[in-house]
């Protein structure tokens, strides 16, 4: 009798599990949205491979499809992504136009998190365009959209840190950078976390805290190597070389510069390689000056 009731319970449990499994299936999207999402996924892949023209084409197509069915959230994402593409293609005015469309009429109910990301991106563009006051206002705007646990909270803190560094408020900058490191998710925001670590290292270097700077650069290098971004790996190695040079460990500095040179050559970046060689030459000149003359 007991066995019978146990098997009945197992059957009931299995039935419930099957029901839950069926119920958990995502709702099927309409054909247009599905098509636009496929284009968007293809554009993401193209962007990550550096094929910006292809990415732009697919994002624009996806944007048109989402606009035709008024998918507000997806429209905001496509415009943000297009702004990123235009930035990589060195068309800041086009990038601004895409983002401005999100903050002008007719405004659709865009998700606040995406608007916060768009505001952060605008702030970054103004910072890169040497317009710190506009950058600050857009950072503030982003913070307004960004509620607690907003995904771009770390990026907004990093922008604040950069603005403080520009005003030579190093302590404040370091604090913002550390807050950014704490706010960024080490799982899904590794690129931005590496940026924050690198920036924190630079502030530490400015404050002559070499040990901390080297530690931060090493953290950034580990993340960038994991992500496989040659340009950023080169930057981390260069910063590590500079930190060791400033700390007086010239041979170690030369080792990092040599690694940075190899990465530059492998990337095919002539300008990057020349820059590293200039660092190496500077290091060799300094060591020649500091070496005492033989008696």
């Amino acid at each position: 009798m007991q066995m019978h009731s146990r098997s009945n319970s197992a059957l009931l449990l299995s039935f419930c599990l099957i029901l839950v499994a069926c119920g958990s299936a995502p709702e099927k999207l309409n054909f247009r949205s599905e098509q636009a999402n496929k284009l968007s996924a293809r554009a993401d892949a193209a962007f990550l491979q550096g094929e910006y023209e292809g990415a732009k084409h697919d994002y624009l197509l996806a944007l048109r499809i989402h606009q035709s069915v008024e998918n507000a959230a997806e429209i905001a994402i496509m415009r943000f992504n297009l702004a990123r593409v235009f930035r990589e293609q060195a068309h800041p005015e086009q990038a601004h136009l895409q983002l401005d469309a999100l903050f002008s009429e007719p405004a659709l109910p865009y998700p606040p998190a995406t608007l916060a990301a768009a505001a952060a991106l605008k702030s970054q563009f103004y910072l890169e365009g040497n317009e710190p006051s506009l950058a600050l206002s857009w950072t503030k705007k982003g913070e307004g959209y960004c509620q607690k646990n907003c995904t771009v909270a770390g990026s907004l803190l990093l922008l604040r840190a950069q603005l403080a560094q520009r005003d030579n408020r190093l302590d404040e900058a370091l604090k913002f950078a550390d807050d950014a490191v704490a706010a960024l998710n080490s799982g899904v925001q590794q690129m931005e976390l590496a940026n924050a670590q690198r920036f924190s290292g630079e502030i530490s270097l400015d404050r002559n805290d070499f040990t901390r700077a080297i530690h931060s650069f090493q953290q950034a290098l580990a993340l960038d190597q994991k992500l496989g971004i040659p340009g950023k790996i080169r930057l981390d190695l260069l910063r590590l070389g500079a930190a060791h040079e400033r700390a007086g460990a010239e041979s170690t500095a030369l080792h990092f510069y040599a690694r940075a040179l190899n990465v530059s050559d492998a990337m095919g970046s002539v300008q990057g390689a020349d820059e590293v060689r200039a660092y190496m030459k500077g290091l060799q000149n300094n060591s020649a000056v500091n070496t005492p003359e033989p008696r």
Binding site: A21, C22, S24, A25, P26, L29, E34, A36, N37, K38, S40, A41, D44, F47, A62, H66, A73, E74, I77, M78, F80, N81, R84, T114, A117, A120, L121, Q124, V152, G154, S155, L158, L159, Q162, V188, Q189, M191, E192, A194, N195, A196, R198, F199, E202, I229, P230, G231, K232, L235, L238, R239, A242, G272, E275
Partner: protein
């Protein structure tokens, strides 16, 4: 008269006399052997029935010039059903091959006078069978040993041969046409010559016109002389016009030749059309089958994608925001 028994028989008799079980065993063995024989006989009877040995049949025959692919024992079919069997093939004195076959009487009402026998190859590597093409229903019944007309359906080899035979005249036509085009007095060279002549005549006319204009301009005052010269020039013009007329005649002849060539091209196109039409009968079904198979596969895959639990395992594509990268451009210059 008493017979002398062997020592073994004497021993067995002694056993039988003393053991009654031996007698029962003998009876059992006898019964078993009888049952075995009965079963064997039954099997023979079943096989014979299967082979149609007891069926009532009618013997028929046909004649052919070639006994190739025809062999004793091959099946005779009607609308895909086995209705008989080939009995034998013999070569007659006049050189014709006579083939005897029988048809089960059960199916004979379907085969009327006017029916014919056809040798059919089953697929590319399949056996050959004799197929009966039944005659019209209003025809009288067949008589025993009646001679039926015979035909062979084309196999792959015959089809290829037929195709070659059909293509051969087309290729010959193309060859003749090409040769005729390329001959020294062929159409191409002729057209070239005519074109050169027309060009020359045009140049002559143009120079004459120029000369005439010059003469009129220079000798305006000397009207009589100019008139004489212009009459000479006009003569030359008329000669040139005559030349042009001759050239046009030649063009006419050339056009006639071109017409003839076009006719032969039309013949070639017609032949190609016939070959294409015969191919068109077999190719579309193959394409349709392939299309259906592909469609089925697509349906199966899409249905599987929609089915639980696969649909839960498939990651739904959704629009994603690119990761933020707000510091340290890959191409940034270090401080």
């Amino acid at each position: 008269m008493p017979t002398k028994l062997s020592s073994f028989d004497q021993t067995m008799k002694l056993f039988a006399a003393h053991d009654s079980r031996l007698a029962i065993l003998e009876r059992k063995v006898g019964l078993f052997a009888l049952a075995g024989l009965g079963a064997l006989l039954l099997v023979f009877v079943i096989v014979a029935i299967e082979q149609g040995m007891f069926a009532s049949t009618t013997k028929l025959r046909f004649q052919t010039s070639d006994a190739g692919l025809i062999r004793e024992g091959m099946e005779v079919r009607l609308s895909g059903f086995k209705v008989g069997k080939l009995l034998g093939v013999s070569l007659r004195e006049d050189g014709a091959v006579e083939v005897q076959f029988f048809v089960n009487n059960k199916y004979l009402p379907h085969i009327r006078r006017g029916a014919k026998v056809r040798l059919v190859e089953q697929g590319l590597f399949g056996d050959s069978v004799l197929e009966i093409v039944p005659g019209s229903k209003d025809q009288p019944d067949l008589a025993v040993n009646e001679l039926l007309p015979f035909e062979r359906q084309f196999g792959m080899g015959e089809l290829a041969q037929d195709l070659v035979e059909r293509l051969k005249p087309i290729l010959d036509n193309v060859k003749v046409t090409t040769t005729s085009l390329n001959e020294p007095d062929g159409l191409i060279n002729h057209v070239k010559k005519v074109a050169v002549k027309i060009e020359k005549a045009g140049q002559d006319i143009s120079s004459l016109v120029q000369q005439t204009q010059g003469v009129i301009a220079e000798e305006n005052l000397k009207l009589g002389k100019a008139l004489d010269q212009s009459s000479v020039a006009l003569d030359k013009v008329s000669v040139a016009v005559d030349q042009a007329g001759v050239a046009l005649d030649k063009v006419g002849v050339t056009l006639d030749k071109a017409n003839t060539l076009l006719d032969s091209f039309q013949d070639v196109a017609r032949d190609v059309g016939k070959v294409t039409a015969s191919s068109a009968e077999s190719i579309p079904p193959m394409l349709r089958d392939g299309q259906v198979a592909a469609e089925d596969t697509r349906n199966i895959i899409s249905s599987a994608r929609e089915a639980w639990p696969i649909k839960n395992m498939m990651k739904a594509e959704e629009a994603k925001i690119l990761p933020m990268d707000s510091y340290g451009d890959a191409n940034a210059q270090p401080k």
